[in-house]
């Protein structure tokens, strides 16, 4: 694994899991206009746990752009698990995430959301390119992932603190500490950081 923080790029020569192949296939349909967030970021970088869903966020779009995307997704053998109608899916997207999986399968699936807040904006703007053997992925910056997971860990969610710990231990020599501390302070997660450090 080679992390070039200046280029915002990580070269990862890992053997792809079935989950990674699924994510790469789905993300390819977005031409780089997305960012992966949350638990999958720890997993792609080696965290020893599995997951059923992967969180992906995209910039907000109008219905015509969504419908176009819907047909591309459908043509590539994926389907929405919530509804078969793009109009209904678009309506749902205004309120909550919708899920996509390979046709006929429920697992694994993508939890698809549009960017709704500053955390999403930051993650998209500062995303990191992960270059894999087969394809590439855009993921949220590591500092944000650690801080965000620490914030989720405030409600005694041990899994999130463990995800933060994995990323911190793995990248600690290469992190932008000023940025990490700023984000942790923003999320009031100093106490949680002490637990995993």
């Amino acid at each position: 694994m080679e992390y070039n923080a200046d280029k915002k790029e990580i070269k990862l020569d890992r053997e792809l899991s079935k989950l990674d192949e699924f994510v790469v296939d789905f993300c390819r349909l977005f031409n780089g206009n997305y960012v992966l967030v949350s638990g999958y970021i720890s997993i792609i970088f080696g965290r020893s746990r599995a997951t059923e869903d992967v969180d992906l966020i995209v910039p907000d779009m109008d219905f015509s752009a969504f419908r176009e995307l819907w047909y591309v997704i459908d043509k590539n053998d994926f389907e929405c698990l919530n509804t078969s109608k793009p109009e209904e899916a678009f309506k749902m997207l205004k309120e909550h995430a919708i899920r996509f999986a390979k046709k006929g399968k429920a697992i694994p699936n993508i939890e698809f959301k549009t960017i709704r807040n500053e955390i999403g904006n930051y993650s998209f703007k500062n995303r990191i390119k992960v270059v894999l053997r087969k394809g590439l992925l855009y993921v949220s910056p590591i500092e944000m992932q650690i801080a965000y997971k620490l914030m989720l860990g405030k409600s005694n969610n041990e899994k999130d603190l463990e995800d933060a710990k994995h990323l911190y231990e793995l990248f600690k020599e290469r992190l932008n500490n000023a940025e990490l501390n700023k984000l942790i302070k923003q999320f009031n997660a100093e106490k949680e950081f002490e637990i995993i450090k």
């Binding site: 694994m1 990862l12 020569d13 890992r14 053997e15 792809l16 899991s17 079935k18 989950l19 997993i43 970088f45 080696g46 965290r47 020893s48 746990r49 599995a50 059923e52 929405c80 698990l81 919530n82 509804t83 078969s84 109608k85 209904e88 749902m92 909550h96 899920r99 399968k105 429920a106 697992i107 694994p108 699936n109 041990e158 603190l161 463990e162 710990k165 994995h166 231990e169 793995l170 637990i195 995993i196």
Partner: protein
């Protein structure tokens, strides 16, 4: 595996409850594993990790397939996936 897993016993002994001890032990293992990922080739650690990830997907798919064989089961799947609308 050549590396020995040596958890910080002082930290583990400081736990006040079983749950806390269990959590500290997991954090200690995460530190060990993250260090393994850092110090070994991507191919080597990912092969080990994939056994866990791929088997979970296979088992979960088997489970959902079986569950989806009945109307009641299909309803359950929707509940499990947190769906609020019906799929046609």
């Amino acid at each position: 595996m050549n590396e020995l897993y040596k958890p910080d016993l002082k930290k583990i002994r400081s736990a006040k409850t079983d749950r806390e001890r269990n959590f500290i032990e997991r954090l200690e293992f995460i530190k060990f594993w993250a260090n393994y990922v850092k110090t070994h080739g991507d191919e080597e650690w990912s092969k080990q990790q994939n056994v866990l990830i791929d088997s979970q997907i296979i088992i979960a798919r088997r489970f959902y397939k079986k569950l989806g064989e009945t109307e009641e089961g299909r309803k359950k799947i929707k509940e499990l996936l947190g769906m609020t609308y019906n799929k046609e």
